[in-house]
Structure formats: C-alpha cells, structure tokens
Symmetry: C2
Subunit: 497 residues, 2 copies
C-alpha cells in the first residue's frame, strides 16, 4: 500500500509513530497500535500505528509521520512510501502472561526489556507491564533476570579495579546531598567510586543538578572512565550514559498514578549499579512523615529485599535506615546545596551539622566494607580524611577533572531576589514538611534556576522567637518569587509546638 508522507510537526519523545485517517485504516483493516512496516527506497522501519479521525489532519492517501519516524526513515513531506502490516511484538504475549499471574522466563524478560529500550511498545502496552509487575510482584528469580536484562540492554562501564564502591539513596528528603561529601572521602581513602547520579524529577535538586553548580556533569563513558582512573571517583549525571536505559522509560508511565512496583524498582537500582561494575553498595533509606517511606515496617522490608537481591547478584551490600523526617542540611536547591557541601568539605563554621554527621557515618560504613578501616573504626577514619582536608583536596581534583572550576563556597551565587519567612510566634520547632519545602523551592525555580531554593535557619527541636527568620526563599525571577510567596502563605512548611 502506497501513501504520501505528511510531516507531522510533533515528537513522541520515544516510539516511532505513524498515523492514518480512520477511513484509510478501515479500508486496510488496520487498528490503533497495530505495527506496520514502512519502506522508503531501501530503508525499512517498523512503527506503531495511530489513527486520527480528522481528514484535515491526515487526508486520504496520506500517512502522518512524527519527527522521530521521519528521521528514522530519512523521509520528508510529500515522499511516497510503502506500508504493510507487521507482526505484533512477542513481548505483548509475555506482558499478558505476567498480567495473568504467570512467571516469566529469562527469554521473555529479555524480549520485553529489549522492546522497551528500543521503543517498540506503546505507552498503553508499557502501562500493562508496569501494572502486571505491580499486582503480581516479580519473584527473586524474575527480578534477577530483569536486572541482568536491563544491564545487557545498555552501556556498561568496565574498570580494572576491585572493590568498586557505589551508594544510593531512595530519595524523598530535600537537601540530602551526602554523595558529594562521601565520594571525595572514599576516593581520598584510595577506593574506587564511579558515582552516577540523577537529575531531579520532582525534588528541588538531584545530586547531578547540585554537582553541576561546581562542574560539568555531562560526561560520556570514556570521559567518566578517565576521571575515575585519575582521581578514584567522579560525580556525573547518569542520564547521558545509557546505563540500564529501560528504567527511564518505565518511570514515565509510573508517574501518573505514582505507582512503584517494588520488585521492578529494586531491579532498576541494582541494574544501574551493575552497569558501572559496582561490587560494594551502600543504600540509604530515609524514613519519616512526608518522606518517601513513612513507616519503619516498609523500610525494614525494603532493606531485607535489597539484601536478598544483592546476595543473589553476588554484590556486597549494606542498607541504612536513616531519619527522613525533615530536610538534611540548610540549603535546598542546587546552588544552596552545593554551598553546604563545600562548607562541610572546607570546614567552614557555617557547615550544617546534620549533613556532615550523616555523611561521615555513611562514609565510615563504606570504608569498613572496602577494608580501609576495621569494623567500628570507619567513622573515625572518615572524620580524619575530612578534617585533614584530604577530602576537600580530592573534591577539587574531581571538579577539575570533570572540567569545572567552582571549588570555593564563596564563589557560589544565590538568587537575586530573596524573601524572608519569619516566625509568627515563639516556640520549639515540631515539624518541617519535606513536601511543602520541596514545592516552595520548585515554584521559586529550582532546579532549573540553579540559584533558586530555600535556606533553612533551624531544624526540628530548635527554639525560635516570634519574628525570628525561619527560612529565606531565593530566586532569580521576580515573578517566581511571588509565586513561591503565595505557596508559603497558603501552606505550613514549619510547625511550632
């Protein structure tokens, strides 16, 4: 069947999509989400079919191709192309099997992950997969096969070292930038820690966003390898490295319902770690009201699952359940957090104690795992490395190796506009809401506006007097700051006793 190309001025972000009008589709018995083969000259691609009702959008005899599809086919407006019906991906049968409560084989999981990574599944089909894994949790065997399939479908970093250290926090607590203190301590101790971090999706800043205030984080695998070989560590954005890329596509369909299929969530984390060849992993699970996990029971179960999975994957793991009842550190937002990190590394008197303490504790655990400290001596060793200035020196090396130049807290600039929020009464701080703090910082412009965010003057348990500053909101946009003020007024970020 021959059709004339209509260039659709729109991207799908992923899948290759072609669109016919409903009359043409009916004529050839084609349906929404059918797969079609499209041929132009000698170029062949497979696309997912969409069907439009409007003859205006897609006239009879025309086929609308979205930007990615045009590109894949090297086609342009008015070209004549040939289409025919293709078979539906086998992975659909396997998704259906899982939805029916079946157990997937290695081959079936590989097929599904391969089709996800190669954009062969529509968002509806992918949603069925997420749903299936959510209601019929993958068993340990399936989870392990999923981890391996995810790793195999992406790039991997190979380093000729042992051990290779990694850490991961499940997130949900603003300001929690321990990674940027732990990595230089661990690297200074002589252990290898090729850390990849994510950007924020819903938080005021991801570690990659915060690190980007100081240096470049968009490295390719070769550049990353060079930095690690030179300095023992790195802190780069994982998103540009194509490590276990199925994950990013899955997350997209999880967001609308805030679904979190635990087995698959565990698999995604372990796959990212295995993609950089990590052998020793520390996991941070913050728990608290307004954190990702509210209850201790859930946290303990998650901990157990992490340990079981890591054992099967032959990775050493330690899991810490930490206090997630309030933000960690004083700064929230990329620049404010980066400043806190440098305060700690530089031993500045303005350093937030909670961030320093948590980082030392975690670094200590890793030093013990990596045999750089005897059991029980890790914290002391971490403290030594931090206080002697070795960690700060290492951080400067890493920043420089990643081709950045901000190494002093004095050189970090905050938003031009600021707004102080003061206490309306005297008392002791009872509660700080992570979610509201996040919302204010984001509305003020974080993480897009690196200089936007919040500076907290107090934490839970601190006494404040009426009129004392509780926090300052920063933004580089006047309008944004106005929006943030409105959020402050209509919500209670900080509650006094």
């Amino acid at each position: 069947m021959k059709f004339k190309v209509k260039a659709m001025d729109i991207t799908t972000g992923n899948t290759l999509v072609a669109i016919l009008n409903s009359k043409d589709a009916a004529k050839f018995d084609l349906h929404v989400l059918d797969r079609i083969k499209i041929r132009k000259n000698r170029k062949n691609i497979e696309a997912v079919l969409d069907i439009g009702k409007s003859l205006k959008a897609i006239p009879s005899g025309s086929i609308g191709l979205f930007e990615e599809t045009l590109e894949a086919l090297n086609a342009k407006q008015g070209d004549i192309i040939n289409i025919c019906l293709a078979k539906k991906p086998l992975s659909l049968q396997y998704i259906r099997k899982k939805l029916d409560g079946g157990t997937l084989s290695k081959k079936e999981i590989e097929e599904i992950i391969n089709d996800i990574v190669n954009n062969r599944l529509s968002s509806i089909e992918l949603t069925y997969f997420v749903s299936a894994c959510y209601t019929h949790a993958l068993d340990t065997k399936e989870t392990i096969m999923l981890v391996k399939a995810m790793v195999n479908c992406g790039s991997t970093l190979k380093l000729n070292k042992y051990p290779i250290i990694d850490k991961h926090c499940i997130g949900g607590v603003p300001g929690n930038r321990t990674t940027m203190i732990i990595v230089p301590i661990i690297a200074a101790a002589g252990l290898t820690i090729p850390k990849t971090s994510s950007r924020s999706i819903t938080s005021p800043s991801g570690t990659a966003d915060t690190m980007e205030v100081l240096t470049n984080v968009c490295l390719n695998l070769n550049q990353m390898k060079r930095v690690v070989n030179k300095t023992n560590g790195c802190i780069v954005w994982g998103g540009s490295l194509n490590l276990a890329p199925a994950d990013d596509k899955i997350i997209k369909v999880e967001r609308p319902l805030e679904i979190n299929a635990e087995s698959q969530f565990l698999a995604s984390i372990m796959a990212k770690k295995m993609s950089v060849s990590s052998t020793h992993i520390l996991i941070d699970i913050p728990v608290g009201k307004s954190a990702k996990l509210e209850g201790m029971k859930l946290a303990k179960n998650l901990k157990k699952d992490f340990i079981r999975l890591a054992k099967k994957l032959k990775r050493k793991i330690k899991v810490m359940i930490t206090d997630g009842s309030q933000p960690i550190g004083n700064g929230i937002g990329p620049a404010l957090e980066a400043r806190d990190v440098l305060y700690v590394l530089q031993g500045d008197y303005r350093q937030p104690n909670d961030l320093r303490k948590k980082s030392i504790e975690m670094a200590g655990k890793i030093l013990e795992m990596g045999k750089k400290a005897k059991p029980g001596q890790g914290k002391k060793k971490a403290l030594e490395i931090l206080e002697s200035g070795q960690a700060y020196k290492k951080m400067k090396e890493i920043i420089k190796a990643q081709e950045g130049c901000i190494t002093d807290s004095e050189n970090i600039k905050l938003g031009r506009y600021a707004y102080d929020v003061t206490s309306k009464k005297s008392g002791r701080i009872k509660y700080i809401d992570n979610k509201i703090i996040t919302r204010i910082a984001r509305v003020a412009g974080a993480p897009k506006d690196k200089k936007a965010g919040i500076y907290l003057y107090n934490h839970i348990g601190d006494r404040v007097k009426k009129g004392d500053k509780l926090f300052t909101v920063y933004s580089d946009g006047k309008e944004q700051l106005k929006f943030a003020k409105e959020v402050v007024k209509e919500s209670s970020a900080i509650v006094l006793k």
Copy 2:
C-alpha cells in the same frame, strides 16, 4: 502564565490535550499528564498536558493545542491564552486504590466513569483502571454500581411498555445474524424489542453493518422511539445513541493486549441493556475451538455470572450456551449475511438451515419469557410466525420505518470480483476455522466494503468431492481479492477428515 497558541494539525480522538516544549514545562514545573486550566477570554477548559522535546514542534512561549482542544476553547493559531495548574482528577486515587486491591465505593466508581466519559483520563490512566479491574475482579456489589454508573453517564431510552425484550451475543462466530430474524418474530408476536447492535470491530460484520445493507441504522433516540412505537421493534446502531458510552472508551485500551476484564465486560453489556430499559434479556454464548470461548467450563461460569448479576439488577435473564465451532449461516460479510437473513424470512429454498434453526430456538425462548407461549411451546410459536410470513412482513415494516427499501433478497448485490476455493481432495469436513474465515473476509474488504465476504457451500460433517467448491470469496476491489487469495493460500480455513 501566558502562551501563544500553536494549532496542532492533529486530533486525539478523545481527550483534550495541550502540549508544551520540555524547557517551558520545566520552567513552570509542569509534567506529562498534569492537568492544566486554559483560559481564553471568558472561556475555561481543563486539558491534559503533554510535553514535547522538539523546539521546532513547539517553540518557547507557545502551547500546542490539538484540534479538540482548539474547538473546546474556540481558539486559533496565534491567540494568547492563560494557563495554570489544575488539580489531578480524584478518580486517579480511586484507580490506584483498586490497583492496590481495594474495594470501590459507589461515589468512587461514579467519579471514575464520569471522568472516563468526559475524556478526563489519559490512555495510560485508563489502562491502569482496566488492569486493576482485570487483576482484582470487581465483586458483585461493585459490578452493580459500575452498571448503574455507566447507565447514568449516558442517554437512556424510556418506553412506556412491559416487558421490554433484549438479546445479546458475546460474539466471535462469523455470520451469526440471528438478531435480524429474532427481532421481527418477537415484534410480530406483539412484544417490544428495541434492539441496538454494534458495528464490527474485528469481525467480518456486526449486526449494525449487516442491517445497514437493507436500511438506515443511524437513528437518534427519538427516531428509534418512533420506530419502536410504530412496529414494536427496531435494529439500529448503538454507537450513535450515547448509551453507556464509557464502554467504547474502555474497549480502546483493551484491544492492544486483548484484555477482557470479565466483571467489567458483564457490566458493559448489562449497562447497554438497561440504557434501553430492557426487562427480559436472552444471552447467547457460543462455545467452540476458534470461538471467543473455547471451553465449556468458562462458558458455564460466565452464564452463572450473568444470571447472578441480572438477578441483582432485577432483570429477567436466560442464558444459552450454543455451538460456536463454525460459522452460522452460509454468507459472511454484510451483504451476504443480509441475503441469508432475507432467505430465511422469505422462506427461500436457499436459506441456511443452521441460522434458521438457531433463530427459531432463541425466539422461542424469548416468547416463553415474554409469556407469548407456554413453557415448551415457544419454538412452535416462533416457527408459526416465521412460516406464516408474519415475521417477514414485520421486517419489511421495520426496514421501512427506519427509512430503507431493500426487502427482497434478489435486490442484494455482491462484490464484482469473486474467487472460488475448491477442495483438493474428497472427504468429510472436520473443521472450519472462525478466525481464518474472518481474516479472509476482512482482507477481501468486509465490513467496509459491504459486498465483500465469503459464501460457504458446506458445514462441518458435510461430504465433499475433490474439485467441489468449498467457498467463494467476493470483493468489490480487484486488489483486495488478490490479498484475500494470498490469505486463503497460506492458511487452512477448512480442514477435511
């Protein structure tokens, strides 16, 4: 936030969608599937947000509006509109609850159905609902509430009569056009039967497609009411009547994985029946290899579920499990089936016995339910009505009342091109594959090309000699017939012993 409208030359078919480029979306912390309020002058709408990566498709400061959205807002290219974040529909929480295995309340089910009907859910969100109902089947109470919510969200036909008869076949067997024989028999007996039928989705023809060969089937509710008041019956297309419309939207996301959530499937059928105020319902469940249901056990369970649900809804019901192992009648495809129907009604010697027999049996059951025949006497009565010509007379009345004019089988035209398939050996027919027969008829052009389809010369158990005609394929398109021939050659529609 002000944006300039870019008119996107595309429809979604349903949901109101607006699209921003990823940079603008990040600036305002907006995400895929967020809900936004769009205001232009005094007009306000809510739309689902999509995010595009391409600055070419959506330049900074612009918002792409799909055709439906433009129309709803009365906006055009270049208009300036205002947007702000709206709350996500409450129904998402309820879908999540069901996905977590919870039980939904009346209010929650109503909210979900209301949002589905009003296109407030994206296809991903709707998929989660279907998934949830599939893995955690609705209990009887939930199913009843779902039926009622579905009815209330659509139009209803109110008739001042009792009883009101309906029938339904779950489908899957080509040619099975009993409705067009049963309706005139029942109406001639003095019972009211306001029958709505569907068009084909995956079959060679739906009852609405076949009836359309003889008369108009696109009536509105008032026209339908007039026809029923005049003739006691009608056979119209349900799709244009807005009866329990949630169903059509749900079916769309079921197709890709051929999901069939039983509780929801039952609810959809009962909702359609209740929308036309039916009080007495006959259900036909064909069972057989290559039918929708292959096994007797599944059919019996479905029968039980139908009976339980109807009882709770205070509707009288009879469920027949019938032979679905092969096509019913000789003609398959709109014109060929319509001709079979008229052959039976006109008492033509070419009438297919299986279609005639099944229709009489079903009509008999209904006559007994409607107290027009004593128990055990229904079939006899139905036969009388058919053989006396009363049913044919009634059918002519209905055809005329629906403003059609084809009432004689001689006036039905078949495809210009035909292809005879002959037997390669002698023997007895062992098996006829419904799915392959369907595929051939559809590739030949049915149901879009009304004259396309298949004429079967034999059924299972019949003896054929080498060279005898097994079936003829008809089409109005030369190319289509060629495609159909290819399907015939590469598959085995009819198997001999």
